[in-house]
């Protein structure tokens, strides 16, 4: 926690220009009235988890979806809030910074002030630790001046970022009570929003009046589910990475002698890698989800790459670009097993130097086979969420090293006749996540900030702000809120003895959907990307002119707007109710009964197969 958070920044000319930009609001958030329509109560994604999740969230489970409507919308049972008593709201950055985070604060601030000038927004300095220590900064126009539409989290800062232990939860409760907060807004990814849900439940139980609201902000793009289409920061990060990847593709094509192995930040799942592939068309990408699905070993992956290098060499192409998600190391079964063993030993307090001698024979054999630099990195202590320190493990170097060894072998044996294999490794992480946010992220985050106000005005607790139909222009965006507990699932681990351990309900990071349209687009083109060098360069992020309104490819190809569809369904049901009222004709009733019977049959069959079919790896 440093002393320079929230002070005015010196801005470059472009940053100054950006600080003048004012995102527009979708029609439903304009004006000073809050119109909220509460839909049906929500259920959890997996029926089997219901009772476990219900036990953890007696107060906040099964709450309805909320839709915020435009002032002119004619919905019978919409709640219209025109009174805006003075509110005190706290906001905290939780977890890794993502471009656009500042705009959530700005959006919320503006919404607060528009509805009642006496409203107060307190920012916690230094993330969750600032929350526990009650270190606040009152957000004002002055404070915001040099942070509007700017990257980073340096207006308020962040720290280790979890609100989970009894001590932490109690400290949060005390802070909210002491500061008399009507609401606490938590900005973060899967872990932080999970914490937000548990905190909301804890507050409800403790009869604390502070309502907790979560906002989906993470560069990883892995907080995705029926309710949440995208995360703030993902768009910018992927664009910045794609620009750099594309430059490297052009470099490869120009120099005709290097293979570039590029590792991308993005945690366990491969959303960033997939999106960057769709934007820049590198020759290859190794998605963790594919590796898991096909149970590929490290040797399978090496063989795949080597065969590709060889096939390209036969077409006189001795260059290429290969993307590697940082989470890949945890997707390769034998490396994952090795990591688990190492982490287990570290937990038992075994000295790092002694670990190699205490590994099981399988793991030991693999460990000895690996080059020294990677051994050192595998021995690092795991992070607070028990995952490996992915940003520190240079998987790209490991793969490059193993591919080089294999290619040299093939060269010697005469099976490979291309140029000597030359690899250059890159890791793109920090240079992207501190970036100036794209127009999309600026708009999305700002609107989410406004949505937060509407949530708290409606008195909702344990909700996440949502904006859907994001692939359309801002004036078509739909705003709402979904109970965070409805996004949760439970993990089960089978122990050796046959018993199962049941985890705590959490929002699990979404993996890349191998049946989704984005992945399908990749598969359709993978062979061409591999052989034909169809590199594409999204260019540097633009704010004016061509390209300024570009959005993530994976966002645009997916069939989304779940919230909108739920609403559509609601409308149908209402219509049915109106048409088939007591007194309607026999024919109408008969027709309704027969159609309803078949609809119920179909839905029962589908929903039972989809719950059993869904499994977490």
């Amino acid at each position: 926690m440093d002393s320079d958070f929230g002070i005015p920044r010196e801005l470059s000319p472009l940053q100054q220009l950006r600080s003048q930009y004012h995102p527009e609001l979708p029609p439903c958030l304009q004006g000073t009235t809050v119109r909220v329509e509460l839909g049906d109560g929500t259920t959890v994604a997996k029926a089997g988890d219901a009772h476990i999740i219900a036990r953890a969230f007696p107060h906040t489970l099964g709450q309805p979806l909320a839709h915020f409507l435009r002032a002119t919308a004619k919905v019978a049972d919409a709640q219209i809030i025109t009174e805006h008593p003075v509110k005190r709201v706290g906001i905290v950055f939780c977890g890794r910074q993502a471009p656009g985070g500042h705009n959530v604060v700005w959006g919320l601030y503006e919404a607060l002030k528009v509805h009642n000038a006496k409203n107060t927004l307190l920012g916690f300095l230094g993330g969750s630790e600032g929350l526990f220590a009650q270190k606040t900064l009152e957000i004002t126009d002055e404070v915001l001046q040099t942070y509007k539409n700017q990257g980073g989290y340096d207006m308020l800062g962040r720290t280790k970022d979890q609100i989970r232990t009894t001590e932490q939860v109690n400290a949060a409760l005390k802070a909210c009570t002491d500061l008399k907060l009507d609401s606490l807004v938590i900005i973060g990814g899967v872990t932080s929003n999970t914490d937000a849900a548990h905190l909301a439940e804890f507050f409800a139980e403790a009869k604390c009046s502070t309502k907790v609201v979560g906002v989906p902000v993470t560069i990883n793009g892995d907080l995705k589910n029926q309710f949440v289409e995208a995360n703030v920061g993902f768009d910018t990060t992927c664009k910045v990475n794609s620009q750099l990847i594309s430059n490297i593709c052009t470099d490869a094509l120009s120099a005709e002698k290097y293979y570039y192995f590029v590792r991308l930040m993005g945690r366990k799942h491969s959303h960033v890698a997939l999106e960057c592939t769709l934007q820049s068309h590198p020759n290859m990408v190794i998605l963790g989800e594919e590796v898991t699905a096909s149970k590929l070993t490290i040797f399978d992956i090496i063989k795949q790459i080597c065969d590709a290098v060889q096939a390209r060499a036969e077409q006189d192409k001795n260059h290429g670009v290969i993307l590697i998600p940082e989470g890949l190391v945890e997707s390769i079964p034998e490396l994952y097993a090795l990591l688990k063993e190492i982490h287990g030993l570290l937990k038992e307090g075994v000295q790092v130097d002694n670990i190699s001698t205490q590994l099981s024979s399988w793991s030991s054999a693999l460990f000895e086979f690996l080059p020294p630099f990677i051994k050192k990195q595998l021995l690092l202590h795991p992070e607070s969420d028990d995952s490996a320190q992915l940003s520190q493990i240079e998987t790209e170097k490991l793969l490059a090293y193993l591919v080089e060894t294999e290619m040299n072998k093939r060269l010697k044996e005469g099976t490979y006749k291309g140029k000597k294999f030359n690899a250059i490794c890159h890791f793109f992480g920090y240079q992207a996540r501190g970036s100036l946010p794209s127009k999309f992220d600026c708009d999305y985050a700002y609107v989410l900030g406004h949505v937060c106000y509407h949530i708290l005005a409606a008195g909702l607790n344990g909700y996440m702000a949502t904006v859907t139909n994001l692939k359309s222009p801002v004036n078509k965006w739909k705003c709402g809120a979904a109970p965070i507990s409805a996004m949760m699932t439970v993990k089960r681990w089978s122990q050796n003895s046959g018993s199962t351990t049941i985890g705590r309900p959490v929002i699990h990071p979404a993996s890349v959907d191998l049946k989704g349209k984005a992945y399908d687009l990749l598969r359709q083109n993978a062979q061409k990307f591999l052989m034909e060098d169809m590199y594409r360069n999204p260019g540097p992020v633009q704010y004016d002119g061509p390209g300024a309104d570009a959005k993530a490819v994976s966002l645009c190809v997916e069939d989304q707007d779940y919230m909108g569809k739920i609403k559509k369904l609601q409308e149908y049901l209402d219509q049915v109710r109106t048409i088939v009222k007591p007194g309607c004709s026999q024919d109408v009733l008969k027709a309704a009964l027969s159609v309803m019977a078949s609809v119920t049959d179909v839905l029962t069959t589908i929903s039972s197969s989809s719950t059993s079919g869904q499994q977490f790896a």
Partner: protein
């Protein structure tokens, strides 16, 4: 499905299904930005809007040892520089159809394609019916006679795009008599009137040797050079900057700015950023001027002040220490790639190590270290363990240690760590030091050229075309007055021999174009030096953001250029 795809441009997917022709790029997969750049019209210096003629300046000399340069270039030495000026009518004949070859030499720099487009368009405009040939894969293409004819359709997808992939590049040199012979044969067979060599200092020296050779043999082929290098070390009074420097520095600065914001948000990392530039530290200096990092190491200053590795480390430690007192436990440090080449004692160490290693008696116990001089051994021991091992184990095919492979930023992190660890045991420092290393290099060489580089390169190409058409050889295309609006830019050529000096190699004088180093008395360095103390302790970070092609600031030129031209306080 169609409606979804409209949003990202229907051609996004349509394009993928088209088979690319074997040679040119596939524009159907281009992003919106790329596509808009292709059709971006470039302004030209106003001299190309009127009829013009070429006037000669006074005879030139050389940068050093004129008598030796004259001996090496008897036919070309002393050539005057050339300048295009408006005229009543075009004195440069336009009925003659020309055959021109072009070659890209050395590492990529953003804008290379635009030089070629400039030559192409010049010929279209002023010498219709001429042909332009691109030699494939650098100078080797000339020697092997590998070339393609550049047509309007072929060139089109590369307009304002990064990379060198239109004809690719290579690092071969035309050196031996046989190689000169091969080049001679190729250009004769092709009946070339001219050849444009786009390259750095070495390539331009090579271009001049070719020009001299062709002239000596009474061949008609003229040779013109163009100043390319992202390193920014090929420049002189007449050639204010090399192309690619502007774009590369802006890309690196964007990333450095992002890292700064990240550092400040997290508050716990020191980011050590190594930047390209093996010989001179121009890139590092420019990036510093754009972003205001806490510490910037300039190789030329280290050399000038005869700093040791220990000094460099201590300076960093000192700043970290002082920052900790102010409550800051993070920072950003820029390091030029060539840093250790500037440290004399390291050079000494390397040469002694090479000798010891050549003798081959390196024992496990370290007895071999006794063969090093006492002070050299001290330096060796000062190096982090991993660097020591790297020096001893990873050697080139000749058995020499590979200095180039040392990741300077990682080495500095380890040395700083050791020093701070010492301070910790002494109880004078309490913070946790966490260093993160970065190398920003390849991702800057092939970006989409900035408006400046795109325009500058196009003018360089036009200039090269006009010089060839008016029968000039042995000149480097020179576009000047760059601080002014494009219309006022001057176009001409500078005698390559005037940029040269000689170096003695293997008992012979070799002509070289001296690399322009960072001048400690120059305006860019002075500006940096006057502000760096403030940057060190106070956080004056500036994040320039991504390169913009439209809107305010999109035409801005880099600080180094503007300061050198005296156009900025």
């Amino acid at each position: 499905m169609a409606s979804q795809l409209d949003l990202i441009g229907g051609d996004y997917i349509a394009g993928i299904s088209i088979n690319p022709p074997t040679n040119s790029r596939v524009t159907s997969v281009y992003s919106e930005v790329q596509a808009s750049r292709i059709d971006h019209t470039l302004p030209l210096p106003s001299v190309f809007k009127t009829p013009f003629k070429i006037i000669d300046g006074p005879p030139s000399s050389s940068a050093g040892h004129p008598e030796e340069i004259e001996k090496l270039f008897p036919n070309l030495f002393g050539q005057p520089s050339a300048l295009l000026v408006p005229n009543q009518s075009n004195e440069v004949s336009s009925d003659q159809k020309l055959k021109i070859g072009v070659v890209l030499s050395g590492g990529q720099a953003p804008g290379g394609h635009n030089v070629i487009c400039g030559i192409f368009d010049y010929l279209q405009e002023y010498a219709r019916g001429s042909s332009l040939f691109g030699f494939r894969g650098g100078p080797a293409g000339i020697m092997k006679g590998k070339y393609i004819e550049l047509t309007s359709e072929f060139v089109y997808p590369y307009r304002n795009q990064g990379g060198f992939d239109m004809i690719c590049s290579g690092r071969d040199k035309i050196e031996t008599p046989e190689q000169f012979k091969q080049a001679e044969e190729t250009v004769t067979k092709m009946d070339l009137d001219g050849l444009v060599v786009i390259g750095g200092d070495d390539s331009n020296t090579n271009a001049c040797l070719l020009a001299e050779h062709f002239r000596a043999k009474n061949m008609k082929t003229l040779v013109i050079g163009c100043p390319k290098t992202i390193d920014g070390d090929l420049k002189s009074k007449e050639v204010p900057t090399s192309f690619g420097f502007d774009t590369a520095c802006k890309i690196y600065s964007e990333m450095i700015g992002n890292v700064m914001i990240d550092a400040r948000s997290t508050g716990k990392y020191y980011h050590f950023v190594r930047l390209m530039g093996r010989a001179a530290s121009h890139i590092t200096l420019e990036c510093a001027l754009q972003t205001h990092p806490n510490i910037t190491i300039i190789g030329e200053e280290v050399f000038e002040k005869k700093l040791t590795l220990k000094n460099v480390t201590d300076n960093i430690v000192d700043v970290i220490y002082k920052r900790a007192e102010n409550g800051y436990n993070y920072g950003v440090i820029l390091v030029p790639e060539g840093l250790i080449d500037f440290i004399p004692e390291v050079q000494q160490l390397i040469s002694e190590l090479n000798e010891v290693l050549a003798e081959g008696n390196v024992d496990e116990e370290g007895q071999w270290k006794k063969n090093l001089k006492k002070e050299t051994l001290e330096i060796f021991e000062f190096l982090p363990q991993t660097i020591q091992e790297q020096l001893m184990l990873e050697r080139d095919p000749h058995g020499n240690v590979q200095v180039a492979k040392i990741e300077t930023e990682k080495m500095l992190i380890q040395m700083v760590e050791t020093e701070l660890e010492k301070k910790k045991t002494e109880g004078t420092y309490e913070r946790e030091f966490m260093g993160k290393s970065h190398f920003f290099g390849y991702e800057g060489r092939c970006g989409l050229p900035t408006n400046f580089d795109a325009t500058y390169c196009y003018a360089l190409g036009y200039g090269a075309g006009s010089l060839l058409q008016s029968g000039k050889t042995g000149l480097i295309s020179s576009v000047g007055n760059l601080a002014a609006p494009v219309e006022e830019w001057t176009v001409g050529g500078t005698a390559l021999t005037s940029l040269m000096d000689v170096e003695r190699r293997h008992g012979k004088f070799k002509p070289v174009i001296k690399k322009a180093m960072v001048e400690l008395e120059g305006a860019p360095f002075k500006k940096f030096a006057s502000q760096r103390e403030e940057w060190a302790l106070k956080n004056r970070y500036i994040s320039p953001g991504p390169i913009q092609f439209k809107g305010p600031g999109s035409d801005a030129r880099n600080h180094t250029l503007m300061l050198e031209l005296g156009a900025q306080a």
